[in-house]
Symmetry: C2
Subunit: 328 residues, 2 copies
């Protein structure tokens, strides 16, 4: 069994998000907690900016946490930077246990699943789950120096400049994480590092089918099934792959990547990056649950598990999707 | 509280290790399960070798697992490669849930702590915890191309070519993981990436003091307090830092890095890398516990949380140490 049940209803008691200007102009602009005035956040390098955004949402989520939840035992965090330096350096500022994770763009769901496990099992009282990404730090690490002005391919996505954090604790009246499925690594042989939606869609299907089979739930029972950053093409592939299995989720599926930016030629397939689903989940999705507009959702962030080295060595792109079920 | 108790005694039911020739010539040569005949393991690149070593120990640990424990639900793994590609690509071969971790050289203890949590809490039945490193892949990623033949500084360590895996399940008669402490990120301002022992020693002290304070245990009650890869100088600093706090563990401390290689001028401070403590723990340490030569040990792997980018940008080196208590 890859799915586990949280009997003690670990809850999302506080969240915070910060994004860049371009993200704030998109569909969720009214939901993000904070918008940066420029893409540096007062830092000298984009890597330091990314880390600063992460520290900022950690501190902000803690400062807005309800009484009894503002003291955390641990941080569960990861990011896309080599050796997850954004998380490691942000964690340095907080004197709590640190569990470093790597799930590429699936990190928000992975951190929620493991963080909720630690609270549900009584190992920790309150924990903080978070991740981030920055367009410029990711772009120059994985693709080309920005200064080159390299053309983007039609299947390319645009890394979201964003960070999201959630405080998980036991409490009533908050959205609760009720189940989780950690995904398998799935590889469909896609080798184009500019077409990650296609690489990730089979992983998303695998995890969703695993969850539905192991839990006995039906897909249409959910107000929304939220994927991370499949993008527009990847979402289409995912929906087609699900329909092949007789499950039609066209009416209750939303992809954070496909919807986060205004549709303009620049963004092609939409957003990506660990900060994409993290910023949308911790603002828009949590708000909808808090308002009881949604009663039950599945949040399934997807990650492409490549590196520049693996791509240079001719490898295909393995992918993973992690899922959490959240109830209002 | 950063320390948690495992009431259901998740146990180490099976382990496997594989190392290179140089490692096999050292103090633990008689304990490692497998030794590679050359440093490629039949692969075209060192990155693929590292991954192959990891797949190998996963499969080997599973094939030797006792009845009822050979089917695992999840793999908890990480490594030093950018985007932990060794773990991601190795996990692709096993159709089980994958939790990607990053703790640099502390990964073995992190994976044991989280894996044991998932089994203790009843979320998973059996899980596999593992990590690896390869001298040549690490060296060229973090330091210089091997072909340059760059001189090493006197404080430099030598990355261990090794992989280790442990199957964790509930069962009687095996060494059991009874408590764990996830460490805080500690930064003492060391900026020399060739002196990681000095960067990690304060983190080791912090985690050990936290464990002793929170558990109420005394250091001398343990047959051995095993650190990961502080190296010879780092171990000396760690012992001094502990004595400053009135705790003398000179007689029951062992560092995997300081002892793994034969003392020769090449190795300077000893071994390092995620595979260092992983290969020593899963062979020598577990054997001593199985034989009841040791009754209780603390295994505390340490990690330096730097990247080449953070060093180039003038940052100091944050470090972390994660601890598990294991009883025979």
């Amino acid at each position: 069994m890859h799915t586990f049940v949280f009997a003690n209803r670990p809850s999302i008691v506080s969240t915070s998000t910060v994004v860049g200007k371009r993200e704030a102009e998109g569909a969720y602009g009214g939901y993000f907690h904070h918008v940066m005035q420029d893409d540096t956040f007062g830092q000298e390098t984009f890597e330091k900016t990314e880390r600063q955004m992460l520290s900022f949402v950690i501190e902000d989520a803690l400062s807005h946490a309800p009484k009894g939840h503002s003291e955390i035992d641990a941080i569960f965090s990861g990011d896309l930077m080599n050796q997850i330096i954004s998380s490691c350096f942000a964690a340095r500022e907080f004197p709590v246990a640190f569990s470093g994770l790597y799930g590429a763009c699936s990190t928000m769901a992975l951190s929620l699943a493991l963080g909720a496990m630690s609270v549900d099992g009584g190992y920790y009282r309150n924990v903080l789950c978070c991740t981030c990404s920055h367009f410029s730090s990711v772009e120059r690490q994985f693709r080309y120096p920005l200064e080159l002005g390299t053309m983007r391919t039609p299947t390319a996505q645009w890394t979201v400049t964003g960070a999201g954090a959630a405080v998980i604790g036991r409490g009533k009246g908050y959205p609760a994480i009720t189940r989780a499925t950690l995904g398998r690594v799935v590889d469909y042989g896609i080798v184009d590092a500019n077409n990650m939606g296609a690489a990730m869609a089979p992983a998303a299907r695998d995890t969703l089918l695993t969850f539905l089979r192991e839990s006995g739930e039906r897909a249409f029972h959910y107000d929304c099934i939220i994927t991370g950053d499949l993008g527009r093409l990847g979402s289409q592939i995912f929906l087609d792959l699900m329909r092949e299995k007789g499950i039609d989720i066209r009416d209750n599926h939303m992809d954070c990547g496909a919807t986060v930016f205004q549709i303009e030629k620049d963004n092609f397939q939409g957003g990506s990056g660990a900060g994409c689903s993290a910023s949308v989940f911790n603002s828009y999705v949590v708000k909808k649950l808090q308002n009881k507009e949604w009663k039950r959702v599945l949040f399934m962030a997807t990650g492409a598990l490549l590196s520049t080295v693996s791509s240079f060595q001719g490898e295909s792109i393995p992918a993973v999707a992690h899922l959490v079920e959240v109830e209002a």
